[in-house]
Symmetry: C2
Subunit: 252 residues, 2 copies
Amino acid sequence: MEKAILIKSTSTWAPVRANSVANQIVLQVREALFEGRFLPGDRLGSEKDLAAQFDVSRITVRDALRTLETMGIVEIRVGASGGARIAQGNLDHYSDALSIQFRLSGITGTEMLDLQIAIEGAAVELAATNRNPTDLEKLSNLLEEAEGLLGDPAGFTQSGQKFHLAVVEASGNRAFIAQFNGLRHVVWPKNGKRAKREIASHALKIHKNIYCAIREGDREVARKLMIIHLESIRTMIFSKNSKKATSGPVCC
Amino acid sequence: MEKAILIKSTSTWAPVRANSVANQIVLQVREALFEGRFLPGDRLGSEKDLAAQFDVSRITVRDALRTLETMGIVEIRVGASGGARIAQGNLDHYSDALSIQFRLSGITGTEMLDLQIAIEGAAVELAATNRNPTDLEKLSNLLEEAEGLLGDPAGFTQSGQKFHLAVVEASGNRAFIAQFNGLRHVVWPKNGKRAKREIASHALKIHKNIYCAIREGDREVARKLMIIHLESIRTMIFSKNSKKATSGPVCC
DNA sequence: TTTATATAATGATATAACAATTAAACATTA
DNA sequence: TAATGTTTAATTGTTATATCATTATATAAA
Protein backbone atom coordinates (compact mmCIF):
# COMPACT_ATOMS: atom_id res chain seq x y z
CA MET A 1 0.00 0.00 0.00
CA GLU A 2 1.32 3.39 -0.95
CA LYS A 3 1.88 6.16 1.49
CA ALA A 4 0.05 8.43 -0.89
CA ILE A 5 -3.16 6.59 -0.17
CA LEU A 6 -2.91 7.47 3.48
CA ILE A 7 -2.05 11.07 2.93
CA LYS A 8 -4.71 11.70 0.35
CA SER A 9 -7.53 12.28 2.77
CA THR A 10 -5.44 14.82 4.61
CA SER A 11 -5.03 16.93 1.50
CA THR A 12 -8.69 17.71 1.01
CA TRP A 13 -8.92 21.14 2.57
CA ALA A 14 -7.68 21.49 6.09
CA PRO A 15 -9.97 19.43 8.27
CA VAL A 16 -10.10 21.05 11.66
CA ARG A 17 -8.65 17.96 13.22
CA ALA A 18 -5.82 16.80 10.98
CA ASN A 19 -5.67 13.05 11.13
CA SER A 20 -2.38 11.53 12.07
CA VAL A 21 -1.01 8.73 9.96
CA ALA A 22 -1.68 6.32 12.79
CA ASN A 23 -5.30 7.38 12.81
CA GLN A 24 -5.57 6.81 9.08
CA ILE A 25 -4.54 3.22 9.64
CA VAL A 26 -7.09 2.81 12.40
CA LEU A 27 -9.81 4.18 10.18
CA GLN A 28 -8.87 1.91 7.30
CA VAL A 29 -8.97 -1.21 9.42
CA ARG A 30 -12.16 -0.17 11.11
CA GLU A 31 -13.83 0.58 7.84
CA ALA A 32 -12.73 -2.74 6.42
CA LEU A 33 -14.27 -4.49 9.40
CA PHE A 34 -17.61 -2.79 9.01
CA GLU A 35 -17.65 -3.49 5.30
CA GLY A 36 -17.19 -7.16 6.04
CA ARG A 37 -13.74 -7.40 4.51
CA PHE A 38 -12.41 -8.77 7.80
CA LEU A 39 -13.74 -11.48 10.04
CA PRO A 40 -12.75 -12.43 13.57
CA GLY A 41 -9.57 -14.44 13.44
CA ASP A 42 -8.20 -12.90 10.25
CA ARG A 43 -4.51 -12.14 10.55
CA LEU A 44 -3.34 -8.64 9.82
CA GLY A 45 0.37 -9.37 10.14
CA SER A 46 3.20 -8.46 12.44
CA GLU A 47 4.21 -4.93 13.29
CA LYS A 48 7.04 -5.26 10.81
CA ASP A 49 4.73 -6.48 8.07
CA LEU A 50 2.25 -3.70 8.65
CA ALA A 51 4.97 -1.07 8.83
CA ALA A 52 6.13 -2.23 5.40
CA GLN A 53 2.61 -2.42 3.98
CA PHE A 54 1.67 1.07 5.08
CA ASP A 55 5.18 2.39 4.53
CA VAL A 56 5.46 3.86 7.98
CA SER A 57 7.65 3.14 10.97
CA ARG A 58 6.98 0.42 13.46
CA ILE A 59 6.19 2.92 16.17
CA THR A 60 3.42 4.43 14.09
CA VAL A 61 1.98 1.01 13.47
CA ARG A 62 2.16 0.32 17.17
CA ASP A 63 0.21 3.50 17.87
CA ALA A 64 -2.49 2.36 15.51
CA LEU A 65 -2.51 -1.18 16.85
CA ARG A 66 -2.76 0.05 20.42
CA THR A 67 -5.85 2.01 19.48
CA LEU A 68 -7.38 -0.88 17.59
CA GLU A 69 -6.57 -3.20 20.44
CA THR A 70 -8.24 -0.90 22.96
CA MET A 71 -11.27 -0.65 20.72
CA GLY A 72 -11.37 -4.42 20.84
CA ILE A 73 -11.00 -4.73 17.10
CA VAL A 74 -7.68 -6.54 17.06
CA GLU A 75 -5.91 -8.94 19.35
CA ILE A 76 -2.15 -8.98 19.52
CA ARG A 77 -0.13 -12.05 20.20
CA VAL A 78 3.59 -12.20 20.76
CA GLY A 79 5.94 -14.87 19.52
CA ALA A 80 6.39 -16.81 16.32
CA SER A 81 3.29 -16.62 14.10
CA GLY A 82 2.00 -13.96 16.43
CA GLY A 83 1.04 -10.47 15.38
CA ALA A 84 -2.30 -8.75 15.06
CA ARG A 85 -5.55 -10.54 14.35
CA ILE A 86 -9.14 -9.42 14.17
CA ALA A 87 -10.51 -10.11 17.62
CA GLN A 88 -13.38 -12.24 18.68
CA GLY A 89 -16.04 -10.09 20.20
CA ASN A 90 -15.47 -9.39 23.86
CA LEU A 91 -18.37 -7.71 25.52
CA ASP A 92 -16.23 -6.71 28.45
CA HIS A 93 -14.88 -3.98 26.22
CA TYR A 94 -18.41 -2.71 25.87
CA SER A 95 -19.12 -2.91 29.56
CA ASP A 96 -15.88 -1.06 30.17
CA ALA A 97 -16.80 1.76 27.83
CA LEU A 98 -20.17 2.02 29.47
CA SER A 99 -18.79 2.43 32.96
CA ILE A 100 -16.10 4.87 31.85
CA GLN A 101 -18.34 7.16 29.86
CA PHE A 102 -21.26 7.07 32.27
CA ARG A 103 -18.82 8.07 34.97
CA LEU A 104 -17.19 10.88 32.99
CA SER A 105 -20.54 12.17 31.80
CA GLY A 106 -21.74 12.59 35.32
CA ILE A 107 -24.81 10.46 34.78
CA THR A 108 -26.40 10.08 38.18
CA GLY A 109 -27.03 6.95 40.16
CA THR A 110 -30.78 7.24 39.79
CA GLU A 111 -30.52 7.53 36.02
CA MET A 112 -28.43 4.39 35.86
CA LEU A 113 -30.68 2.59 38.29
CA ASP A 114 -33.69 3.37 36.11
CA LEU A 115 -31.85 1.86 33.19
CA GLN A 116 -30.92 -1.18 35.20
CA ILE A 117 -34.50 -1.67 36.31
CA ALA A 118 -35.57 -1.55 32.67
CA ILE A 119 -32.93 -4.12 31.75
CA GLU A 120 -33.70 -6.52 34.56
CA GLY A 121 -37.43 -6.13 34.17
CA ALA A 122 -37.24 -7.09 30.54
CA ALA A 123 -34.64 -9.77 31.15
CA VAL A 124 -36.70 -11.57 33.72
CA GLU A 125 -39.62 -11.64 31.28
CA LEU A 126 -37.42 -13.26 28.70
CA ALA A 127 -36.05 -15.61 31.32
CA ALA A 128 -39.56 -16.77 32.13
CA THR A 129 -39.98 -17.63 28.48
CA ASN A 130 -36.58 -19.01 27.57
CA ARG A 131 -35.39 -20.62 30.81
CA ASN A 132 -33.94 -24.09 30.56
CA PRO A 133 -33.24 -26.71 33.25
CA THR A 134 -29.65 -25.57 33.64
CA ASP A 135 -30.73 -22.01 34.33
CA LEU A 136 -33.30 -23.13 36.84
CA GLU A 137 -30.83 -25.33 38.65
CA LYS A 138 -28.33 -22.52 38.87
CA LEU A 139 -30.92 -20.15 40.26
CA SER A 140 -32.08 -22.77 42.71
CA ASN A 141 -28.56 -23.39 43.92
CA LEU A 142 -28.02 -19.69 44.46
CA LEU A 143 -31.17 -19.52 46.56
CA GLU A 144 -29.89 -22.35 48.70
CA GLU A 145 -26.55 -20.66 49.02
CA ALA A 146 -28.21 -17.42 50.11
CA GLU A 147 -30.29 -19.32 52.65
CA GLY A 148 -27.10 -20.39 54.35
CA LEU A 149 -25.70 -16.87 54.32
CA LEU A 150 -28.53 -15.05 56.09
CA GLY A 151 -26.22 -14.40 59.00
CA ASP A 152 -23.33 -13.23 56.83
CA PRO A 153 -24.21 -9.77 55.47
CA ALA A 154 -21.31 -9.48 53.03
CA GLY A 155 -21.69 -13.01 51.77
CA PHE A 156 -25.44 -12.68 51.39
CA THR A 157 -25.08 -9.48 49.39
CA GLN A 158 -22.61 -11.10 47.05
CA SER A 159 -24.77 -14.15 46.60
CA GLY A 160 -27.77 -11.96 45.89
CA GLN A 161 -25.91 -10.17 43.15
CA LYS A 162 -25.04 -13.51 41.61
CA PHE A 163 -28.73 -14.35 41.61
CA HIS A 164 -29.56 -11.22 39.68
CA LEU A 165 -26.83 -11.98 37.17
CA ALA A 166 -28.10 -15.54 36.79
CA VAL A 167 -31.57 -14.24 36.07
CA VAL A 168 -30.27 -12.04 33.30
CA GLU A 169 -28.21 -14.91 31.94
CA ALA A 170 -31.30 -17.08 31.92
CA SER A 171 -32.82 -14.65 29.44
CA GLY A 172 -30.43 -16.08 26.89
CA ASN A 173 -29.96 -12.62 25.43
CA ARG A 174 -26.30 -11.60 25.20
CA ALA A 175 -27.17 -7.95 24.69
CA PHE A 176 -28.91 -7.92 28.05
CA ILE A 177 -26.05 -9.71 29.72
CA ALA A 178 -23.49 -7.27 28.38
CA GLN A 179 -25.63 -4.34 29.37
CA PHE A 180 -26.20 -5.71 32.84
CA ASN A 181 -22.53 -6.34 33.42
CA GLY A 182 -21.62 -2.87 32.32
CA LEU A 183 -24.11 -1.24 34.62
CA ARG A 184 -23.42 -3.54 37.52
CA HIS A 185 -19.99 -2.22 38.25
CA VAL A 186 -21.11 1.37 38.09
CA VAL A 187 -24.38 1.12 39.94
CA TRP A 188 -23.22 -1.09 42.78
CA PRO A 189 -20.03 0.27 44.29
CA LYS A 190 -17.59 -2.22 45.64
CA ASN A 191 -18.32 -1.86 49.31
CA GLY A 192 -22.05 -1.75 49.40
CA LYS A 193 -23.94 -1.81 52.61
CA ARG A 194 -24.54 -5.12 54.17
CA ALA A 195 -28.03 -6.46 54.62
CA LYS A 196 -29.22 -6.90 58.16
CA ARG A 197 -30.80 -10.23 58.87
CA GLU A 198 -34.43 -9.18 58.56
CA ILE A 199 -33.79 -7.33 55.32
CA ALA A 200 -31.82 -10.22 53.92
CA SER A 201 -34.60 -12.57 54.85
CA HIS A 202 -37.12 -10.41 53.05
CA ALA A 203 -34.94 -10.14 49.95
CA LEU A 204 -34.49 -13.88 49.84
CA LYS A 205 -38.23 -14.37 49.98
CA ILE A 206 -38.68 -12.13 46.95
CA HIS A 207 -35.88 -13.87 45.09
CA LYS A 208 -37.64 -17.14 45.70
CA ASN A 209 -40.86 -15.75 44.33
CA ILE A 210 -39.07 -14.48 41.26
CA TYR A 211 -37.54 -17.88 40.79
CA CYS A 212 -40.96 -19.50 40.98
CA ALA A 213 -42.40 -17.11 38.44
CA ILE A 214 -39.54 -17.86 36.06
CA ARG A 215 -39.94 -21.57 36.57
CA GLU A 216 -43.68 -21.37 35.92
CA GLY A 217 -43.11 -19.20 32.87
CA ASP A 218 -45.21 -16.37 34.24
CA ARG A 219 -43.73 -13.32 32.54
CA GLU A 220 -46.06 -10.78 34.04
CA VAL A 221 -45.57 -11.82 37.63
CA ALA A 222 -41.84 -12.22 37.19
CA ARG A 223 -41.55 -8.71 35.84
CA LYS A 224 -43.71 -7.13 38.50
CA LEU A 225 -41.85 -8.84 41.30
CA MET A 226 -38.49 -7.81 39.91
CA ILE A 227 -39.49 -4.21 39.48
CA ILE A 228 -41.01 -3.93 42.93
CA HIS A 229 -37.88 -5.52 44.30
CA LEU A 230 -35.55 -3.09 42.54
CA GLU A 231 -37.70 -0.09 43.37
CA SER A 232 -37.48 -0.99 47.02
CA ILE A 233 -33.73 -1.16 46.68
CA ARG A 234 -33.80 2.25 45.09
CA THR A 235 -35.73 3.58 48.04
CA MET A 236 -33.19 2.19 50.44
CA ILE A 237 -30.26 3.64 48.52
CA PHE A 238 -31.58 7.03 47.58
CA SER A 239 -33.94 7.86 50.41
CA LYS A 240 -33.32 10.49 53.07
CA ASN A 241 -29.90 12.04 52.86
CA SER A 242 -28.41 12.29 49.41
CA LYS A 243 -25.09 11.22 50.89
CA LYS A 244 -26.29 7.70 50.61
CA ALA A 245 -26.25 8.01 46.86
CA THR A 246 -22.64 6.97 46.91
CA SER A 247 -23.06 3.99 49.16
CA GLY A 248 -24.02 0.62 47.86
CA PRO A 249 -27.27 -1.27 47.79
CA VAL A 250 -28.68 -2.69 50.93
CA CYS A 251 -29.31 -6.21 49.83
CA CYS A 252 -28.37 -7.00 46.27
CA MET B 1 7.10 8.06 41.46
CA GLU B 2 8.91 4.78 41.84
CA LYS B 3 8.82 2.05 39.35
CA ALA B 4 7.96 -0.38 42.13
CA ILE B 5 4.63 1.33 42.60
CA LEU B 6 3.71 0.42 39.07
CA ILE B 7 4.28 -3.24 39.51
CA LYS B 8 2.13 -3.64 42.59
CA SER B 9 -1.26 -3.52 40.91
CA THR B 10 -0.42 -6.42 38.62
CA SER B 11 -2.94 -8.43 40.61
CA THR B 12 -6.11 -9.37 38.75
CA TRP B 13 -6.70 -10.33 35.14
CA ALA B 14 -4.03 -11.79 33.02
CA PRO B 15 -4.48 -10.86 29.40
CA VAL B 16 -1.23 -11.19 27.57
CA ARG B 17 -0.23 -7.57 28.00
CA ALA B 18 -1.48 -7.19 31.56
CA ASN B 19 2.01 -6.97 32.92
CA SER B 20 3.39 -4.50 30.46
CA VAL B 21 4.56 -1.28 32.00
CA ALA B 22 2.30 0.69 29.68
CA ASN B 23 -0.70 -1.19 30.99
CA GLN B 24 0.29 -0.53 34.56
CA ILE B 25 0.10 3.16 33.80
CA VAL B 26 -3.29 2.73 32.19
CA LEU B 27 -4.56 0.86 35.20
CA GLN B 28 -3.27 3.46 37.60
CA VAL B 29 -4.92 6.34 35.81
CA ARG B 30 -8.12 4.43 35.40
CA GLU B 31 -8.18 3.46 39.02
CA ALA B 32 -7.54 7.04 40.07
CA LEU B 33 -10.45 8.16 37.94
CA PHE B 34 -12.83 5.70 39.51
CA GLU B 35 -11.66 6.61 42.98
CA GLY B 36 -12.48 10.21 42.25
CA ARG B 37 -8.89 11.43 42.36
CA PHE B 38 -9.27 12.87 38.87
CA LEU B 39 -11.98 15.03 37.41
CA PRO B 40 -12.66 15.97 33.79
CA GLY B 41 -10.30 18.72 32.77
CA ASP B 42 -7.49 17.79 35.14
CA ARG B 43 -4.11 17.96 33.44
CA LEU B 44 -1.92 14.90 33.59
CA GLY B 45 1.14 16.50 32.01
CA SER B 46 3.11 16.13 28.83
CA GLU B 47 4.57 12.90 27.57
CA LYS B 48 7.94 14.05 28.82
CA ASP B 49 6.58 14.86 32.27
CA LEU B 50 4.83 11.55 32.55
CA ALA B 51 7.87 9.66 31.32
CA ALA B 52 9.88 11.26 34.09
CA GLN B 53 7.19 10.68 36.71
CA PHE B 54 6.79 7.01 35.93
CA ASP B 55 10.48 6.56 35.15
CA VAL B 56 9.83 5.02 31.76
CA SER B 57 10.55 6.04 28.19
CA ARG B 58 8.37 8.34 26.15
CA ILE B 59 7.37 5.46 23.94
CA THR B 60 5.90 3.59 26.85
CA VAL B 61 3.99 6.64 28.01
CA ARG B 62 2.68 7.10 24.48
CA ASP B 63 1.44 3.52 24.46
CA ALA B 64 -0.43 4.14 27.67
CA LEU B 65 -1.82 7.46 26.52
CA ARG B 66 -2.99 5.99 23.25
CA THR B 67 -4.96 3.39 25.18
CA LEU B 68 -6.38 5.91 27.60
CA GLU B 69 -7.29 8.19 24.74
CA THR B 70 -9.12 5.40 22.94
CA MET B 71 -10.95 4.51 26.12
CA GLY B 72 -12.09 8.11 26.21
CA ILE B 73 -10.42 8.72 29.55
CA VAL B 74 -7.92 11.33 28.40
CA GLU B 75 -7.79 13.93 25.68
CA ILE B 76 -4.49 14.81 24.10
CA ARG B 77 -3.65 18.18 22.67
CA VAL B 78 -0.55 19.00 20.72
CA GLY B 79 1.36 22.22 20.95
CA ALA B 80 2.34 24.56 23.75
CA SER B 81 0.44 23.92 26.97
CA GLY B 82 -0.88 20.78 25.35
CA GLY B 83 -0.50 17.31 26.78
CA ALA B 84 -2.94 14.89 28.32
CA ARG B 85 -6.03 15.89 30.25
CA ILE B 86 -8.89 13.93 31.75
CA ALA B 87 -11.61 14.01 29.12
CA GLN B 88 -15.12 15.27 29.36
CA GLY B 89 -17.54 12.42 29.00
CA ASN B 90 -18.37 11.65 25.41
CA LEU B 91 -21.15 9.15 24.99
CA ASP B 92 -20.18 8.62 21.37
CA HIS B 93 -17.30 6.53 22.67
CA TYR B 94 -19.89 4.38 24.31
CA SER B 95 -22.01 4.07 21.20
CA ASP B 96 -18.89 3.19 19.28
CA ALA B 97 -17.94 0.42 21.63
CA LEU B 98 -21.46 -0.89 21.46
CA SER B 99 -21.51 -1.14 17.70
CA ILE B 100 -18.04 -2.63 17.48
CA GLN B 101 -18.53 -5.29 20.10
CA PHE B 102 -22.07 -6.19 19.14
CA ARG B 103 -20.81 -6.65 15.62
CA LEU B 104 -17.79 -8.75 16.54
CA SER B 105 -19.76 -10.81 19.02
CA GLY B 106 -22.32 -11.73 16.43
CA ILE B 107 -25.18 -10.60 18.61
CA THR B 108 -28.27 -11.04 16.52
CA GLY B 109 -30.77 -8.46 15.40
CA THR B 110 -33.49 -9.96 17.57
CA GLU B 111 -31.33 -9.79 20.66
CA MET B 112 -30.64 -6.14 20.05
CA LEU B 113 -34.25 -5.43 19.25
CA ASP B 114 -35.33 -7.00 22.53
CA LEU B 115 -32.95 -4.66 24.30
CA GLN B 116 -34.25 -1.69 22.39
CA ILE B 117 -37.81 -2.58 23.24
CA ALA B 118 -36.85 -2.75 26.89
CA ILE B 119 -35.21 0.67 26.66
CA GLU B 120 -38.02 2.37 24.82
CA GLY B 121 -40.70 0.73 26.93
CA ALA B 122 -39.12 2.03 30.09
CA ALA B 123 -38.25 5.39 28.56
CA VAL B 124 -41.80 6.11 27.51
CA GLU B 125 -42.96 5.38 31.04
CA LEU B 126 -40.52 7.91 32.38
CA ALA B 127 -41.50 10.34 29.66
CA ALA B 128 -45.11 10.13 30.77
CA THR B 129 -43.98 11.10 34.23
CA ASN B 130 -41.30 13.67 33.49
CA ARG B 131 -42.48 15.28 30.28
CA ASN B 132 -42.40 19.05 30.13
CA PRO B 133 -44.06 21.48 27.71
CA THR B 134 -40.98 21.64 25.52
CA ASP B 135 -40.94 17.87 25.10
CA LEU B 136 -44.62 17.80 24.25
CA GLU B 137 -44.28 20.54 21.71
CA LYS B 138 -41.39 18.78 20.03
CA LEU B 139 -43.33 15.54 19.86
CA SER B 140 -46.37 17.36 18.55
CA ASN B 141 -44.34 19.05 15.83
CA LEU B 142 -42.89 15.75 14.75
CA LEU B 143 -46.37 14.28 14.44
CA GLU B 144 -47.38 17.17 12.22
CA GLU B 145 -44.25 16.72 10.17
CA ALA B 146 -44.99 13.03 9.71
CA GLU B 147 -48.54 13.82 8.70
CA GLY B 148 -47.19 15.78 5.77
CA LEU B 149 -44.82 12.99 4.77
CA LEU B 150 -47.31 10.14 4.43
CA GLY B 151 -46.63 10.07 0.73
CA ASP B 152 -42.86 10.19 1.09
CA PRO B 153 -41.71 6.78 2.36
CA ALA B 154 -38.10 7.75 3.06
CA GLY B 155 -39.03 11.03 4.69
CA PHE B 156 -41.71 9.44 6.81
CA THR B 157 -39.35 6.77 8.05
CA GLN B 158 -36.80 9.36 9.05
CA SER B 159 -39.37 11.50 10.79
CA GLY B 160 -40.67 8.47 12.64
CA GLN B 161 -37.21 7.72 13.94
CA LYS B 162 -36.94 11.28 15.20
CA PHE B 163 -40.20 10.76 17.07
CA HIS B 164 -38.82 7.72 18.83
CA LEU B 165 -35.68 9.64 19.76
CA ALA B 166 -37.76 12.54 21.06
CA VAL B 167 -39.75 10.18 23.24
CA VAL B 168 -36.59 8.83 24.80
CA GLU B 169 -35.27 12.35 25.27
CA ALA B 170 -38.50 13.30 26.98
CA SER B 171 -37.66 10.74 29.64
CA GLY B 172 -35.00 13.13 30.83
CA ASN B 173 -32.70 10.22 31.54
CA ARG B 174 -29.30 10.53 29.87
CA ALA B 175 -28.51 6.86 30.40
CA PHE B 176 -31.53 5.94 28.29
CA ILE B 177 -30.64 8.47 25.64
CA ALA B 178 -27.08 7.20 25.35
CA GLN B 179 -28.26 3.64 25.21
CA PHE B 180 -30.86 4.40 22.60
CA ASN B 181 -28.41 6.24 20.39
CA GLY B 182 -25.91 3.43 20.63
CA LEU B 183 -28.43 0.82 19.63
CA ARG B 184 -30.10 2.93 16.99
CA HIS B 185 -27.23 2.83 14.56
CA VAL B 186 -26.77 -0.89 14.94
CA VAL B 187 -30.38 -2.00 14.94
CA TRP B 188 -31.65 0.16 12.12
CA PRO B 189 -29.39 -0.25 9.07
CA LYS B 190 -28.83 2.80 6.95
CA ASN B 191 -31.23 2.04 4.15
CA GLY B 192 -34.24 0.70 5.90
CA LYS B 193 -37.33 -0.23 4.04
CA ARG B 194 -39.73 2.49 3.22
CA ALA B 195 -43.20 2.48 4.66
CA LYS B 196 -46.02 2.11 2.21
CA ARG B 197 -48.80 4.59 2.68
CA GLU B 198 -51.19 2.38 4.59
CA ILE B 199 -48.47 1.18 6.93
CA ALA B 200 -47.22 4.71 7.47
CA SER B 201 -50.72 5.83 8.22
CA HIS B 202 -51.11 3.09 10.81
CA ALA B 203 -47.76 3.90 12.42
CA LEU B 204 -48.66 7.56 12.65
CA LYS B 205 -51.89 6.70 14.41
CA ILE B 206 -49.99 4.73 17.02
CA HIS B 207 -47.47 7.50 17.44
CA LYS B 208 -50.31 9.89 18.08
CA ASN B 209 -51.74 7.59 20.71
CA ILE B 210 -48.36 7.31 22.38
CA TYR B 211 -48.12 11.07 22.38
CA CYS B 212 -51.50 11.36 24.02
CA ALA B 213 -50.59 8.86 26.70
CA ILE B 214 -47.41 10.78 27.45
CA ARG B 215 -49.28 14.05 27.57
CA GLU B 216 -51.89 12.61 29.93
CA GLY B 217 -49.18 11.09 32.09
CA ASP B 218 -50.54 7.57 31.64
CA ARG B 219 -47.46 5.41 32.09
CA GLU B 220 -49.17 2.09 31.70
CA VAL B 221 -50.88 2.89 28.43
CA ALA B 222 -47.81 4.60 27.03
CA ARG B 223 -45.70 1.57 27.75
CA LYS B 224 -48.19 -0.92 26.34
CA LEU B 225 -48.64 1.08 23.15
CA MET B 226 -44.93 1.43 22.63
CA ILE B 227 -44.25 -2.26 23.15
CA ILE B 228 -47.05 -3.35 20.87
CA HIS B 229 -45.76 -0.91 18.30
CA LEU B 230 -42.19 -2.20 18.47
CA GLU B 231 -43.29 -5.81 18.51
CA SER B 232 -45.19 -5.23 15.31
CA ILE B 233 -42.07 -3.74 13.81
CA ARG B 234 -40.17 -6.83 14.88
CA THR B 235 -42.70 -8.98 13.15
CA MET B 236 -42.32 -7.02 9.95
CA ILE B 237 -38.55 -7.17 10.06
CA PHE B 238 -37.97 -10.71 11.17
CA SER B 239 -40.94 -12.54 9.79
CA LYS B 240 -40.87 -14.98 6.87
CA ASN B 241 -37.51 -15.17 5.20
CA SER B 242 -34.53 -14.61 7.42
CA LYS B 243 -33.00 -12.53 4.65
CA LYS B 244 -35.06 -9.65 5.89
CA ALA B 245 -33.05 -9.65 9.09
CA THR B 246 -30.53 -7.42 7.39
CA SER B 247 -33.01 -5.00 5.96
CA GLY B 248 -34.30 -2.08 7.92
CA PRO B 249 -37.50 -1.44 9.75
CA VAL B 250 -40.63 -0.86 7.85
CA CYS B 251 -41.79 2.32 9.44
CA CYS B 252 -39.59 3.68 12.17
C1' DT C 1 4.84 -40.85 22.05
C1' DT C 2 6.22 -37.66 25.25
C1' DT C 3 9.29 -34.34 27.08
C1' DA C 4 12.97 -31.22 27.14
C1' DT C 5 15.69 -27.89 24.61
C1' DA C 6 17.07 -24.68 21.10
C1' DT C 7 15.78 -21.30 17.81
C1' DA C 8 13.52 -17.83 15.50
C1' DA C 9 9.73 -14.64 15.36
C1' DT C 10 7.60 -11.02 17.68
C1' DG C 11 6.29 -7.59 20.85
C1' DA C 12 8.09 -4.32 24.73
C1' DT C 13 11.05 -0.84 25.98
C1' DA C 14 14.77 2.51 25.57
C1' DT C 15 17.41 6.37 23.39
C1' DA C 16 18.06 9.92 20.09
C1' DA C 17 16.67 12.93 16.62
C1' DC C 18 13.79 15.75 13.68
C1' DA C 19 9.19 17.48 11.81
C1' DA C 20 4.71 19.47 12.49
C1' DT C 21 1.63 21.86 15.35
C1' DT C 22 -0.01 25.05 18.63
C1' DA C 23 -0.66 28.45 22.28
C1' DA C 24 1.21 32.25 24.17
C1' DA C 25 4.32 36.07 24.22
C1' DC C 26 5.89 39.78 21.59
C1' DA C 27 6.07 43.28 18.04
C1' DT C 28 3.85 46.03 14.59
C1' DT C 29 0.48 48.88 12.57
C1' DA C 30 -3.91 51.45 11.90
C1' DT D 1 -5.75 51.51 22.27
C1' DA D 2 -7.05 47.64 19.56
C1' DA D 3 -6.39 44.72 16.01
C1' DT D 4 -3.08 42.06 13.47
C1' DG D 5 1.10 39.82 12.22
C1' DT D 6 5.43 37.45 13.88
C1' DT D 7 8.32 34.88 16.72
C1' DT D 8 9.19 31.53 20.20
C1' DA D 9 8.92 27.75 23.11
C1' DA D 10 6.48 23.67 24.35
C1' DT D 11 4.44 19.53 22.81
C1' DT D 12 2.93 15.77 20.09
C1' DG D 13 3.91 13.03 15.73
C1' DT D 14 7.11 10.30 13.30
C1' DT D 15 11.31 7.94 12.18
C1' DA D 16 15.53 5.11 13.08
C1' DT D 17 18.21 1.92 15.66
C1' DA D 18 19.08 -1.19 19.48
C1' DT D 19 18.30 -4.46 23.18
C1' DC D 20 15.50 -7.32 26.09
C1' DA D 21 11.54 -10.48 27.14
C1' DT D 22 8.23 -13.65 25.65
C1' DT D 23 6.24 -17.13 22.94
C1' DA D 24 5.38 -20.65 19.28
C1' DT D 25 7.47 -23.97 16.75
C1' DA D 26 10.85 -27.02 15.28
C1' DT D 27 14.25 -30.26 16.83
C1' DA D 28 16.32 -33.64 19.58
C1' DA D 29 16.37 -36.80 23.27
C1' DA D 30 14.20 -40.08 26.43
